[in-house]
């Protein structure tokens, strides 16, 4: 063979080797899954964001009315100038944003107070009955977030302001309550906090459980007072948990729609979330998107500041590891007082609101609290009466049955896909730990976390109103609701997937690999069985949260794809508040059943689903 021939031979062999190595890398299970996830995340998270930004930067068909020179699709800063400056900017952006922040900060602080003290009482004191207090503490979170807002109105509704029917307060006292108590920031903050305190409760109680009480005892021996110990030793140790709870609560409240819509809109107290809906509702999509982008930016900034703080505080978390025998604080005489106050609190946030909703649902005429007014009209009344615009009672209304079925279908599919994605994401991320691909997937999967619910819904309108590549225009379809719900749950599913997968040592899969099991067998026989508890927990948790999700889907539902959550809002806005209350009660029943089922499953709990 001549030298030249030899060279080309060696060269081609080099190339063959290179191609083979590349394909071997490409066909590794976690690489394949990572790449699939990248594509999915690109379509579910990245493109919608890009579409949203481009929409705000181009002339829309609607703009031509006021701007004759505008070329549809051409570049413009019109929407930004319009929304961020001048009187319109004040009405649409700065005032609502101020309101949003007021509510988010207020609700977060109140949540911290409630969740933190409940956690301490339950975990670290000898208060009797703390087991039950612990179980009941999670109920408000299981109920839809705007339940309390609706119950609040049943009690504090005021005729002085909107005319209409009186609430229970006015009926009993004979005088309308002050407006600040009926509507606006105060009730919104209270109702949001009573729902979202559960994050603080979960995070702080987990942290308290992991603190070795000898740290506190050491302080005790040195003669420090109890208050001093709490302040100087216990509190600093739970700071990371508090910061995590802060992020969660703050970003949730910032994007929440239900409460502010029920308690704010009647007195024109708008927050960004309700404003976005307003703009989108009248067809100013691009304007709504500008607001959504601003909301996203603020949410991202807040969260990254918090993350920085947590980063520097991380050293505290080395105290982890459960199972310390915690020394319980003796409450002494305060025991009974604290027990009574926590029980009262739970009655106030669970029993009373539910009671009010039930009562309201069985009153024929709203605002008449006499016994003679009791009726099942709203539940099983006939069609064509003077009540509820002639609609039949909820249980006899085929439309509602369809809506309930939609809700269940949506939650089932979302739960299933989310749990499945969780395992895949967990596998891809954990297996590739340390590689750029794994980091990229993990970070992309985190994005929906920082996008407030209402903004996320807005993003999806931008995306699927027109066909996108192989994907048809999904706007108005049931599929879109599933896709958006799955996408919004990705951060939680990836977190819980990662933590489930971390517990499966890599040797377990390697041992199967050496035994000759291929990727599919390894998944079916080893990986899946070992993570199935996490899978079930993830499924059930997503089922519940999807069932009562409103902010996310409110912009995307159409009469055909209406779900129970959006149906309540539809009834409220239509003036049929009592029908809304019936629907809320049905919704709560379904979620409570779901929660009961979670409790039956080994390893299934709200905590697991939050990736703790």
């Amino acid at each position: 063979m001549s030298n030249a021939l030899k060279d080309t031979d060696q060269n081609s062999q080099k190339w063959v080797a290179r191609v083979r190595r590349f394909f071997r890398w490409l066909t590794k299970p976690h690489i394949v899954l990572s790449l699939i996830m990248l594509i999915a995340l690109y379509f579910m998270v990245i493109t919608p964001l890009i579409r949203m930004v481009t929409t705000t930067l181009t002339w829309q068909p609607r703009d031509v009315v006021n701007n004759p020179d505008a070329v549809v699709g051409g570049f413009t800063l019109y929407h930004y100038i319009r929304m961020l400056t001048g009187t319109l900017g004040k009405i649409y952006l700065s005032t609502p944003l101020k309101h949003s922040f007021t509510i988010a900060i207020g609700a977060t602080l109140l949540s911290l107070l409630i969740g933190g003290s409940l956690a301490w009482l339950v975990v670290r004191t000898d208060m009797p009955g703390r087991k039950y207090v612990n179980q009941l503490a999670l109920i408000p979170y299981i109920m839809p977030s705007w339940t309390l807002a609706q119950a609040w109105l049943v009690f504090f509704k005021s005729t002085s302001f909107s005319g209409g029917t009186p609430g229970l307060f006015e009926y009993l006292v004979g005088q309308p309550p002050p407006t600040w108590l009926s509507y606006g920031p105060v009730p919104i903050i209270i109702c949001s906090a009573l729902h979202y305190y559960t994050f603080f409760f979960l995070f702080v109680s987990a942290a308290l459980m992991s603190i070795d009480s000898s740290l506190e005892e050491a302080g005790d021996l040195m003669g420090a007072s109890r208050w001093r110990i709490l302040r100087k030793i216990t509190l600093p140790l739970v700071v990371p948990a508090i910061l995590s709870g802060f992020i969660m609560t703050f970003s949730k409240v910032l994007g929440t729609f239900g409460g502010p819509n029920i308690l704010g809109t009647p007195i024109r107290y708008y927050v960004t979330a309700t404003m976005i809906r307003g703009s989108m509702g009248v067809g100013d999509t691009a304007d709504g998107f500008v607001l959504a982008i601003v909301l996203i930016m603020f949410s991202v900034i807040t969260i990254s500041i918090n993350q920085k703080l947590i980063g520097t505080r991380k050293s505290y978390e080395t105290i982890g590891g459960r199972g310390f025998m915690a020394q319980l604080s003796k409450l002494g005489k305060a025991k009974i007082v604290l027990l009574i106050s926590s029980v009262t609190f739970q009655i106030l946030v669970i029993v009373v609101p539910l009671g009010l909703l039930i009562w309201s649902s069985v009153m024929l005429q709203d605002g008449n609290y006499s016994l003679s007014n009791l009726s099942l009209q709203h539940w099983i009344g006939a069609r064509g009466t003077i009540y509820n615009h002639g609609e039949p009672g909820v249980l006899l209304n085929p439309k509602i049955w369809q809506t309930a079925w939609n809700s269940i279908r949506l939650s089932l599919w979302t739960g299933l896909f989310t749990a499945f994605l969780g395992i895949i994401l967990g596998y891809a991320i954990v297996k590739g730990r340390g590689t750029w691909l794994s980091k990229l997937v993990e970070q992309l999967a985190y994005i929906p976390y920082v996008i407030p619910g209402i903004a996320f819904g807005a993003v999806y309108i931008a995306m699927f109103i027109k066909p996108l590549g192989p994907i048809p225009a999904l706007y108005g379809t049931f599929t879109l609701l599933v896709v958006v719900s799955v996408a919004k749950h990705i951060p939680y599913s990836s977190r819980s997937g990662v933590s489930a997968m971390m517990q499966v040592g890599r040797e377990l899969e390697e041992a199967a690999n050496i035994s000759g099991a291929n990727a599919w067998k390894r998944f079916v026989r080893i990986i899946f069985p070992l993570t199935s508890a996490g899978f079930v927990a993830g499924f059930l948790l997503t089922f519940i949260t999807t069932m009562r999700e409103l902010s996310l889907i409110i912009l995307l539902v159409t009469p055909k794809t209406q779900v129970l959550a959006s149906q309540t809002m539809f009834y409220i806005e239509n003036g049929d508040g009592q029908m809304a209350n019936v629907v809320i009660l049905i919704l709560i029943t379904i979620t409570l059943i779901g929660n009961f089922v979670i409790g039956r499953f080994r390893g299934g709990s709200l905590k697991k689903g939050l990736g703790m």
């Binding site: 083979r20 071997r24 040797e507 390697e510 199967a512 690999n513 000759g516 099991a517 069985p529 070992l530």
Partner: protein, 360 residues
């Protein structure tokens, strides 16, 4: 079942760290090769490369006559097709399967008939003396029992090569002794070529037919335990093997077979062309005399540490410190004068520049 393993120029990097650096070695059929070295020396990575769990960045590996990995040709056979078994440090028993399923998993994949499978499983359990444990879950057994099951799992599908990654390091000292003899027996019966990774030199010396000592990804010496112990190829190996540690003393070659140490001279069997050398001598290769002797050098007992079967004596003479090991409980007292006698055959000389053994 006798399989040769040939490794040529194997290299594996993790980022900028070279875990295995251009290692070449041949493992004869039926050998028990132990890879020995401090943690982070690349021994486990090398084992995982042989198993196919890591993709190396260069070199090739043959198992038997099969080329299982070649960087230059882009070949890498999957672990399952390399016909080898691996026992992990933490056993890696599948927690959701009972013992019987753990053992028959690989057999099911090979589509072995059911009754044959049961027979093989029983035989494997008998081989590790764990009959009757079929119905236990891994968490219901002690660490030692789990390790036996892990061995049975490997034995059941009779791989051509046994790989073991520090299988005894999670056991207590007593169990470790038992398992050592157990593993050595299993190897003796099966004659499977075995690669064993450990950081415990006693394990390596007692079990292996060959020991490969690694440091920072480089194979330092590959030899029989006897050769490794008596003729370490370089100072690192000399220092790593042996307990108490070998004596390493600076010396200057002053004549044929004579080395000057401080103010005295010792004769050695090696001829060295170099001037500056390091002389090594194992503590047990030195004879201690309590009376002066023509061939012995006077020292003072700085400290005496009797430990039942043997005693360690630290001897000083000016700047020179020498550790000596004698059998039984020593009667020598601290600060007593003693005379040390060196056997020329037991003294190795190393190049002071590069630390390599000087061979005559």
């Amino acid at each position: 079942m006798e399989t040769t393993i040939i490794i040529n120029n194997l290299t594996k990097k993790f980022g900028n760290v070279i875990a295995v650096n251009d290692v070449s070695l041949t493992i004869e059929p039926g050998a028990f090769l132990t890879l020995l070295g401090p943690s982070g020396c690349g021994k486990t990575t090398l084992l995982r490369c042989i198993a196919g769990l890591e993709d190396p960045d260069g070199g090739e590996i043959y198992i038997g006559d099969k080329l299982v990995f070649s960087y230059d040709r882009g070949i890498s056979i999957s672990p399952g097709k390399r016909e080898l078994g691996l026992v992990f440090q933490n056993y890696a028993l599948w927690p959701h399967m009972k013992v019987d399923k753990n053992i028959t998993f690989a057999l099911e994949i090979q589509k072995m008939p059911k009754d044959k499978m049961q027979e093989v499983m029983k035989k494997a359990l008998a081989e590790v003396q764990m009959e009757g444990y079929e119905d236990r879950y891994p968490r219901e057994m002690s660490g030692g029992q789990q390790q036996r099951i892990a061995l049975a799992r490997m034995l059941a599908y009779s791989p051509k090569v046994f790989l073991m990654d520090e299988p005894l390091s999670n056991l207590d000292a007593r169990l470790r002794m038992d398992m050592r003899s157990e593993i050595k027996r299993l190897h003796h019966i099966s004659k499977a070529t075995t690669v064993y990774v450990t950081h415990d030199q006693v394990e390596a010396l007692t079990m292996s037919t060959k020991i490969g000592i690694m440091k920072e990804g480089v194979l330092q010496q590959l030899d029989t335990p006897d050769q490794i112990y008596h003729f370490p190829a370089n100072l690192f190996v000399a220092d790593f093997i042996g307990n108490p540690k070998v004596n390493l003393i600076n010396g200057v070659v002053t004549g044929t077979n004579l080395v000057q140490i401080g103010d005295f001279k010792v004769s050695v069997a090696t001829l060295s062309a170099l001037k500056n050398v390091i002389l090594s001598v194992r503590p047990e290769d030195i004879t201690v005399l309590t009376e002066p002797d023509a061939d012995a050098v006077e020292f003072t007992a700085y400290s005496v540490l009797p430990a039942g079967a043997e005693s360690t004596i630290i001897a000083h003479r000016k700047e020179t410190e020498i550790t000596v090991k004698v059998m039984g409980i020593s009667k020598i007292e601290i600060d007593q004068k003693i005379w040390l006698k060196f056997d020329p055959e037991c003294l190795n000389l190393y190049d002071k520049e590069n630390g390599n053994l000087i061979t005559a």
